[in-house]
Subunit: 387 residues, 4 copies
Amino acid sequence: MSSNRKIRMGMVGGGQGAFIGAVHRIAAAIDQQIELVCGAFSSDAERSLASGLEFFLPAERCYASYQEMMEKEAALPADQRMDFVAIVTPNHVHFPAAKSALEAGFHVLSDKPATLDLAEAKELSKIVEKTGLLYGLTHNYTGYPMVKQAKEMVAAGELGKIRKIVVEYPQGWLATKLEDSGQKQAAWRTDPKRSGAAGCIGDIGTHAENLAEYISGLKISELAADLSSFVDGRLLDDDGNILLRFDNGAKGVLHASQISVGEENNLNIRVYGEKGGLEWHQYEPNTLLVKWLDQPTQVYRTGNAYLGEAAQLNSRTPSSHPEGYLEAFANVYRNFADHIRCLLDGSQPSAHVLDYPSIADGVRGMAFIEATVASSKNNAAWTELDI
Amino acid sequence: MSSNRKIRMGMVGGGQGAFIGAVHRIAAAIDQQIELVCGAFSSDAERSLASGLEFFLPAERCYASYQEMMEKEAALPADQRMDFVAIVTPNHVHFPAAKSALEAGFHVLSDKPATLDLAEAKELSKIVEKTGLLYGLTHNYTGYPMVKQAKEMVAAGELGKIRKIVVEYPQGWLATKLEDSGQKQAAWRTDPKRSGAAGCIGDIGTHAENLAEYISGLKISELAADLSSFVDGRLLDDDGNILLRFDNGAKGVLHASQISVGEENNLNIRVYGEKGGLEWHQYEPNTLLVKWLDQPTQVYRTGNAYLGEAAQLNSRTPSSHPEGYLEAFANVYRNFADHIRCLLDGSQPSAHVLDYPSIADGVRGMAFIEATVASSKNNAAWTELDI
Amino acid sequence: MSSNRKIRMGMVGGGQGAFIGAVHRIAAAIDQQIELVCGAFSSDAERSLASGLEFFLPAERCYASYQEMMEKEAALPADQRMDFVAIVTPNHVHFPAAKSALEAGFHVLSDKPATLDLAEAKELSKIVEKTGLLYGLTHNYTGYPMVKQAKEMVAAGELGKIRKIVVEYPQGWLATKLEDSGQKQAAWRTDPKRSGAAGCIGDIGTHAENLAEYISGLKISELAADLSSFVDGRLLDDDGNILLRFDNGAKGVLHASQISVGEENNLNIRVYGEKGGLEWHQYEPNTLLVKWLDQPTQVYRTGNAYLGEAAQLNSRTPSSHPEGYLEAFANVYRNFADHIRCLLDGSQPSAHVLDYPSIADGVRGMAFIEATVASSKNNAAWTELDI
Amino acid sequence: MSSNRKIRMGMVGGGQGAFIGAVHRIAAAIDQQIELVCGAFSSDAERSLASGLEFFLPAERCYASYQEMMEKEAALPADQRMDFVAIVTPNHVHFPAAKSALEAGFHVLSDKPATLDLAEAKELSKIVEKTGLLYGLTHNYTGYPMVKQAKEMVAAGELGKIRKIVVEYPQGWLATKLEDSGQKQAAWRTDPKRSGAAGCIGDIGTHAENLAEYISGLKISELAADLSSFVDGRLLDDDGNILLRFDNGAKGVLHASQISVGEENNLNIRVYGEKGGLEWHQYEPNTLLVKWLDQPTQVYRTGNAYLGEAAQLNSRTPSSHPEGYLEAFANVYRNFADHIRCLLDGSQPSAHVLDYPSIADGVRGMAFIEATVASSKNNAAWTELDI
């Protein structure tokens, strides 16, 4: 089967008015390697249709449910049917939709967290393995070129043995009880049924956890967490402070918040080894500060020839023209689509093609969430990740 | 004619290996409102075909020349032929390609500068007027949301009467004689036949000029310029320092450089009025500093509800997730495509749809370049723009 | 007794080659209200003399020990003898020197931490109370004008009820075993006999603790600490990560480090309330970021008329000419000297004069250190401060 | 004559309420090498006395005029009389006071500009030469450690041949007609009789000129200046934009402003050579950005061992504890006092001791001011410095 065509994407969720669905569609579109061919954009059939028409889809490929989509797409000729499913719903639909897609023979690229709880994640992992299909997870922050540069420098030993990691994800948008105002994003994120056992920690704490493990190449072995719900009547945590211990003996701090007034999406990380340190902020994502024992700090910037291959391959403009969140997100899509293309071609994916978050990251994320909630309930007792 | 379809784009230039062509294609793709349907990607027929196939185009719409493209596309049925032509060649082809497209009945979105010299620009302006077709120019930096916020605040009088403007575009990539190394971008930009009368000033100085006039709503009335070619044997200027006088009595400084070692694409601007000041840097484009007589400086950031409509409409993510160069570029494409869609629909374009650089900006840009070169030859004598 | 004269200072410690002694002398000198009149600059008599002569002191007022200094100064006529003693020795001498001075009738301004352990601090507190003399502690970072501005804004309720505090003091200078190289500063700071029960936490963690309590007006009620000695063979902690709970229900994170390669003295703090947030970094101490729910962040800067009285009184230059560490240190000295002057005059000290760290801060600092060490030994169990 | 004593300073100007007098006194005090022994603090005898008593001076050394001070101090025994005179008056008194001091046998450290006009400066230069006494000028910004580091790196050829210099000094405090409000600082600075031929350019433009020449080691050979008085009724320029040409062929831009609303004292400079570039901002004076052709930018910071000798000798704290404006000012005083001490000792001053601005800088500063004013009157015609 020739791969000289765009990779075809179906979407679950992401109808009119959704935030993350639009982000996924842009991310898929940027590199012109993927085309949206169908979708079950809403559990409301009419709304799904209206959304699909807005995206210039034919009515017959705007489905009323993901179940219908899997069934009907599977029945289409191979040169028409979608190649993969992007899942961009609230958390509680991630697992059933992914399961349905995989069992119908479609690769899956899912928004995070992978599932509603750890048990589901472990089950999903088995399904992925059984079907032999591809599964990607949009821990999109690992898509930034300078995050990849950081990972590469740690892996090459430039910092020496890692000792300390500080990772933060402060936001302020839930400092008031926004979920009572009808704001849709706030409503589902603070609802245990749709969001899972954790609020802030599930929504953004997992991004911080994933980023720390991605860059350092280490695994969190245990943690001590103090979660809070500062806003009266909120059902889930809106702030969390966590001590970390990593599998190589490194220590760390992770804190995430949705009540840190005035903070936007200030994900940032600092990693310190025996010989050097790294600092990266989403606020200015094209910069990576590189620190040394006895030499001046260096300012690594995207689009420069001195960067490693991973950073080079994952940026699109020269000389530090600023790239951002959407391009980082697009890198996940691009690599995932390239992997599908390799399967179509029967070619071997390079390490760079394989560089997108997997179901293993998804399982770790859910284990992190459950350990965090358990530790906090136990007054911040040290708790291991149940992998 | 229904507009419930994507707008169809043909491209002149931008084949394999070109920098700006890839940028234009991404900018066109981001909002999923435009599809690339054909191109004359290179003056080499074989290369044009190879490029087009890489972009998943059918061979019959990969043309050997822009002349062939205009002719054959014009002959296609209305529901197939391209709506507009994107011109992404070196400067000397801008005018003939635009003329050819307009005369064949196609709207044009051209890379800047509009033409090779001012006479061409004035002629092009007449052609645009005569054909009644749309003409857009990718002075892409005006596409940044915070640049639009700045323009809106000045226009609303928040700063009072404007007194001083400082605008800079320093780069360092031509600090050595890169054009001798075979680097394609350097080669044509330093060649008067392909670049025009100015090097640095034509390539990036015009962006600075356009940005200053866009934000301030003022026009440069005269200038005094001191251009240099610091690198031995270089045929065009690689650095320029310019004093500005604006039509309302404001004064300014514009300096641009390609020999400022270590500078990337550090376009930045400061505007000072009687009551307030503004500062914006492409380096961190999602931030606009707003300064006041007796109050603390404010940090305006993209994706916040306190911003004006223009900034809101021209960003795609909430709470200051960083957006960058490609999204700013995409805003030019999006507004231009929306304008075409209005024509297809017979609807009235809003002020926001019309907010993209026009042929008038193109003429001013060329007048700026020629005034600058003339002033510099005349030992920085004050020189008016010949509009 | 007239106070129309400079306040007279004697110094314990701070002979040639010492770092912090020189800082104290500069801090005392800046405002020209204090003169150094005598000292026991070293436990080595010859070195003490050599140091004193370098400071232009007469030989007879260069003492061989602090005991000698207290005795001989007390015997001098009132119009000659020192008014107060500055103690700038390693930690283990703080208590005995302060006790000796107070019992001889001299006010004391001591470097921090107040004593070697909590028991000493409590005893010292009683001595201060009994003697009725003044005792100040150079938690110098609270001397920064923008730190005072922050405190004033919190106290005025501008941020609403405080919910979260993040305070950090990362350094990198002890990332290798510097104490084995003969470096004097490293040697005593890593030696339990001279430094006390904690290394990093005693040296800089207490500054972070003091800063958080100073700005917020809250007290840490309990903490959970994970201390590490990353450098092989080091006897004290060189890194610590601590969860905090405050007496109003606020939560926090404090982390300090001496192994964070490439970090200098990057003390910083963020405080979030229900309505606003604050951010301050020693790296750029003349700036205070003030964050709001629905408005742009404001950049408060020293030397501006919009600041409160405390910030105004504690800076010396207009319009944000940068002031630094020495001026902040000098503010502690200035206020302390002003307090002595009030006693000499019989006048009432204003709240601003009283704004310097006291023995109560010293006791809390030692309680913090002991709670941290105890918690860490108990695997980061929650531990209350023993006040 | 032994120099084992403090250097004795008399002051002209700087009485109660003056800004720059207080700065000079702090700068002199910081290193405890200088003592204030007398002063003619005001042309009003009563006010001079009141000021002196506030500084703890005996009444008999508080003089009613600088003429009286020179006469009476010269008559004192050598072991009592002042060593040098600090002149901190408005500009029009600089020359007569300096002349008077030198002719009475006293060294002079003067605030800038050296004199009211160029003719005076040239005459003063001759008087300095004739008397053989020391003359220093407080172009204080050259006292910053990182400015000295920059100078040292340029001199060592690390940047290669210098091509371009951009230097700016924007302020906003005179954006309204503050001189009409009774504000004393504004009043004399906008009065030609007391300020000289230039306002903004004389007050701060000369600092920018001096900084550019100090760091680059180059001389401005000619300039083209466009000065403005934006505030209605103001008698002197409040803004100036200037093109520069240097004696080695380098080009530059200098702009200074007092109407750039919201700017504080944002002196900054960028210097670009064939191999590297430098960037320094007073806003964050402890940082020097060092830029390279093909390597990441480096962040040089004060208090680090990798710095050169000049930076090391001119900072007082380790590891980038922030130092500021007063310490930079103090470096001028310290070096000047050290030079006097060398004369007292009969020892040879090192290059570092001699590193303070001289009368030659003063002459160049006045020539710069006069060339700027002349050029601007001549519609920005190129004008040489009359040295």
